[in-house]
């Protein structure tokens, strides 16, 4: 923790070494977030790039209250949503292909499951995927989601329900489902 404080201070002072150290430490986690929200790998890389620029720019505003990681995730998610808003005005984006990034954990079974779960999420339509990510994984409530996506709370709730149902069916199809989820 003390190490992290020093690192943040270094970034606030604009030290290049601190910047690169911070990136090294947190980029795998944040890239995972980007991959969840983006429509393809290139977009995920863009989101990560823009996210870090904003993080380094606004790091001076971080007052060492609350989770630094949580703060960074929020920045990255916001950038991802910005891209979604732009994208949704255009034609449908291709489904995200299976990414070929390096995995940092060593547990192959959980990696495999994580990868497959990512695939499942990416098979959702964009709005369902977003709502599911925001609610189920990143912990936003429906009011916050409604504001962020410019939809009503009701739509947010129904999108979430729909997303869950689809994921459930897909998990059954792929044989992931355990008896307790089958109900």
């Amino acid at each position: 923790m003390e190490n992290l404080e020093k690192l943040i201070q270094g970034c606030q002072e604009g030290k290049g070494k601190a910047h690169s150290e911070l990136y090294k430490r947190f980029s795998p986690m944040l890239f995972g977030v980007c991959l969840r929200y983006s429509s393809d790998k290139a977009e995920a890389e863009d989101t990560l790039h823009e996210g870090f620029i904003t993080i380094f720019k606004k790091i001076g505003q971080y007052a060492f209250k609350g989770s630094f990681e949580g703060w960074m995730r929020k920045v990255v998610v916001n950038h991802a949503l910005e891209k979604y808003r732009k994208r949704s005005k255009m034609t449908t984006v291709e489904d995200m292909k299976v990414f070929d990034g390096t995995h940092s954990t060593e547990d192959s079974e959980s990696d495999l499951n994580a990868q497959q779960l990512m695939e499942l999420i990416n098979e959702l339509s964009p709005q369902y995927k977003l709502v599911f990510n925001l609610y189920a994984i990143d912990g936003y409530n429906h009011k916050e989601i409604a504001n962020m996506l410019n939809i009503s709370e009701g739509t947010s709730k129904s999108n979430l329900a729909r997303a869950r149902k689809i994921l459930q069916e897909k998990m059954k199809d792929y044989g992931f489902i355990k008896s307790e989820y089958a109900r």
């Binding site: 980029s27 720019k57 995995h103 499951n113 189920a136 869950r164 989820y181």
Partner: protein, 466 residues
């Protein structure tokens, strides 16, 4: 169902919340690149900010100084100095080339005579455009705005007075920093190059030129008297026997814009000689000897190819001339009237002249292409014989006339020289060209005569360039 739904959420959350993937290398490269750009920009802003603050302080100090020292009027009006000359810099020249992005100082004293007054607030659009022309990439606040305003007002003044659109060029004053002086120096160079290039485009010029020509012959000259000694008379085979005559004419030249130009036109020049005097007596007998005497009394029989009638064969540098004498005229020694004491014996002189129309074809190459320039010239001239006269005369009358036998109607000369020229103005050029001309063929087509004179001249010319 609710538990089920929450379980799905939890299941995905547990697996994916801590999900990490190392991003590709290029992402960090892009991020660090963006960060470096931001650092550069913020440094620049610091410098600009400091400069603006320093300028403001300086302007305040300068304003205080000038007000304190009874200075009337704006602080930087006519007192602006370029740093390159001591004269007031006026900054305006008619817009000719819109691709100039910056700025040249020129000095134009004429600007000081204009006194149209305008209000500085007038024509703010034009003002903004002029500022942009002055400083296309800079923040205008960096310079003392007073100076800019004064100069822009001047530009607008002159535009209104002359109804011509002008491009406001950069200004020079002693308050410019070294980097601006460098820009000005380089732009003056650019402007001069541009003017030179504009001058160099397809140009036609006409002019007048003339020169005295000092003529002489080379040592390999062959005279008639070399083959026929009978003709050796008072002709001194020296190089001083030609008269120095003036050649002059009209030039027409064309330049495609390179350092080369080609010139033609036409000149008129004479080759003449006064070979000497002869004494003529009108008292005399019917027999006239073909004889040409000057200081001695020697007489001889002429050769068989010389006409025995009343004629006189004269040799000049250019060939032989057969002069028909008046009846009764008898050749005697020069000045013999003194001996004879009679008015019927007089001295007459032989005068010879050949006049040519010369059509030159000269190529010039500019060695130095400035206001004062240096060039080389070389070419060939075609000469057409127009006049061929020999006469025996005194101050009152010519008693015999003839011509040089065998003068070539067409001769060629080569020219080579060096020239100095001075651009009096954009259109007028003055030049001085020391030139050597050499005959390429003999001026006389008689087989026993080979005379190829040479001449040196100092050709002075004035040309007008369109």
């Amino acid at each position: 169902m609710q538990d089920n739904q929450d379980h799905i959420d939890k299941f995905f959350r547990d697996k994916l919340n801590a999900y990490e993937v190392v991003p590709p290398e290029n992402v960090w490269s892009k991020i660090s690149g963006s960060l470096a750009d931001k650092r550069r920009k913020s440094r620049k802003l610091w410098i600009i900010g400091l400069s603006a603050a320093a300028s403001l302080l300086f302007a305040i100090a300068a304003g205080w100084y000038f007000v304190g020292s009874d200075f009337n009027g704006p602080a930087f009006s006519e007192d602006i100095h370029t740093g390159f000359t001591d004269e007031t810099s006026a900054i305006i020249q008619p817009s000719t080339n819109k691709t100039h992005d910056v700025s040249i100082v020129i000095d134009d004293k004429k600007m000081n005579n204009r006194n149209t007054s305008i209000t500085p607030e007038a024509d703010t659009k034009r003002r903004a455009k002029l500022i942009k022309e002055l400083y296309p990439n800079e923040i205008t606040g960096r310079k003392e705005m007073g100076v800019i305003n004064t100069l822009i007002s001047k530009a607008i003044q002159i535009e209104q007075a002359t109804n011509t659109e002008y491009t406001l060029l950069a200004m020079g004053n002693s308050f410019l920093d070294p980097s601006d002086m460098e820009i000005l120096a380089s732009n003056i160079k650019k402007r001069d190059e541009l003017n030179k290039n504009e001058k160099r485009k397809n140009t036609v010029s006409v002019g007048l030129q003339g020169s005295p020509e000092y003529r002489f012959v080379s040592s390999d000259t062959e005279y008639a008297s070399d083959t026929y000694p009978i003709y050796q008379g008072n002709i001194k085979n020296s190089q001083n026997d030609f008269n120095t005559n003036v050649t002059g004419g009209i030039t027409v030249a064309y330049s495609s814009g390179s350092r080369f130009s080609i010139q033609s036109g036409f000149n008129y020049g004479e080759i003449s000689q006064n070979p000497g005097q002869v004494g003529i007596s009108f008292l005399g007998a019917n027999n006239i000897y073909d004889h040409f005497a000057q200081d001695d009394d020697s007489r001889f029989q002429g050769p068989s190819n010389v006409n025995q009638d009343n004629n006189l064969v004269v040799e000049t540098q250019m060939g032989l001339s057969n002069l028909q004498m008046p009846l009764g005229a008898n050749m005697v020694s020069v000045n013999s009237f003194e001996k004879n004491g009679t008015e019927m014996v007089r001295n007459y002189r032989v005068e010879q002249k050949a006049g040519y129309l010369e059509i030159p074809l000269i190529v010039r190459y500019k060695l130095i292409d400035n206001r004062i320039g240096l060039h080389l010239l070389g070419g060939v001239n075609t000469n057409f014989l127009l006049i061929n006269e020999v006469s025996l005369r005194d101050d009152y009358e010519a008693i015999a006339n003839g011509k040089i036998e065998g003068l070539n109607p067409l001769t060629f000369t080569s020219s080579v020289g060096l020239g100095i020229n001075y651009s009096i103005s954009r259109h007028f050029l003055f030049s001085i060209e020391p030139t050597l001309k050499m005959h390429l063929n003999s001026i006389n087509n008689q087989s026993y005569i080979n005379v190829r004179p040479m001449s040196v001249g100092l050709f002075t010319g004035l040309t007008y360039q369109f």
